[in-house]
Amino acid sequence: MSKKKIVLISAIVLVGAAALTAYMMWNKPHKDVKDTDGLQIAAAELYNLYISDSVKARSLYSDKIVQVTGEVAKVSANQLNQQVVLIKTTVAGAYINCTMEETDAAAKEGSTITIKGICSGYISGDADMGLPGDVFIVRGYSFTK
């Protein structure tokens, strides 16, 4: 094979590889939550860490896959008709606020639930107005046994 042909084929392969890489990156999937292990923690413990040491909580849990266990306070739906499960904490009116990727028909007020999802973090409410904040979980899956 002539030198020119080798260079040409190499260039085509390189450009093809670069294009394929760019295509795969552009179309890379979102983080797999359902089949990935999460950091296991009780709802109250997760909430208390965010309100007592937000820096530590963010470094440990924000943007991480967590597996939170606690008692269901309320089940509702948001404007996209996604199920929202509120898990109780030790603070009245404050919850682990979980938006579900898949609806858990068994989730009911008072039941114990384990939800795996990505922890977005904590939003404070308004102390003057008596509204405590929540810790938010997105892309939630129920793993209650």
Partner: protein, 183 residues
């Protein structure tokens, strides 16, 4: 006896006037939309906390920037890492008031045009804004929605030259919240 009655009435008045009527949501919706000839970009956030004090007209919104969901994972990554710098500026907030509170009758179902004025904090930069919206009263429940525009550069959000044509100079924000009365 008359004096006691007068004092009781006076104290009742003070109590009633100081009892705020608070409405809140912790799963409100904020979405944004950017349109250029190169591409349309949109993302939504359904973990918005909002509170309205219908006695004073105070209204607040708070959200976590990393809770905006994009269809493309790479777009979401760039949004958080490069544009919003969500690790450095985790939240966006708005604090303000409904300027024409007197035009709203919570006891009468209807759709009320409102103007909301206050401070919008995005990417660590606060700007005073005044935007139109609608407050809907139905069967004792209230909901609020608004669509307005912002400029990323006003909040010091830098767009790299390589993608300058992919992101609009003016981005449309849509707010949609259904509130419940706070006990």
């Amino acid at each position: 006896m008359k004096k006691i009655a007068a004092i009781v009435l006076l104290l009742s008045g003070f109590y009633l006037s100081s009892t705020a009527q608070l409405y809140f949501t912790k799963n409100g919706s904020v979405s944004f939309f950017s349109s250029t000839p190169m591409e349309d970009i949109k993302a939504g956030n359904n973990q918005v906390i909002s509170i309205i004090n219908t006695s004073t007209g105070e209204i607040q919104f708070s959200l976590l920037n990393n809770a905006f969901h994009f269809k493309k994972a790479l777009m979401e990554e760039h949004f958080n890492d490069d544009y919003m710098e969500s690790a450095k500026y985790p939240k966006s907030t708005f604090k303000g008031t409904i300027s024409n509170l007197k035009d709203i009758n919570l006891g009468k179902d209807g759709v009320y045009n409102i103007t909301v004025s206050g401070n919008l904090n995005i990417h660590g930069v606060t700007r005073a804004v005044s935007v139109p919206g609608k407050l809907t009263v139905k069967g004792g429940a209230i909901s609020a929605n608004s669509t307005f525009t912002i400029k990323p550069k006003d909040h010091h959000i830098s767009i790299p030259a390589a993608v300058k044509n992919n992101i609009a100079e003016t981005v449309e924000l849509t707010v949609n919240c259904n509130y419940e009365k706070k006990n």
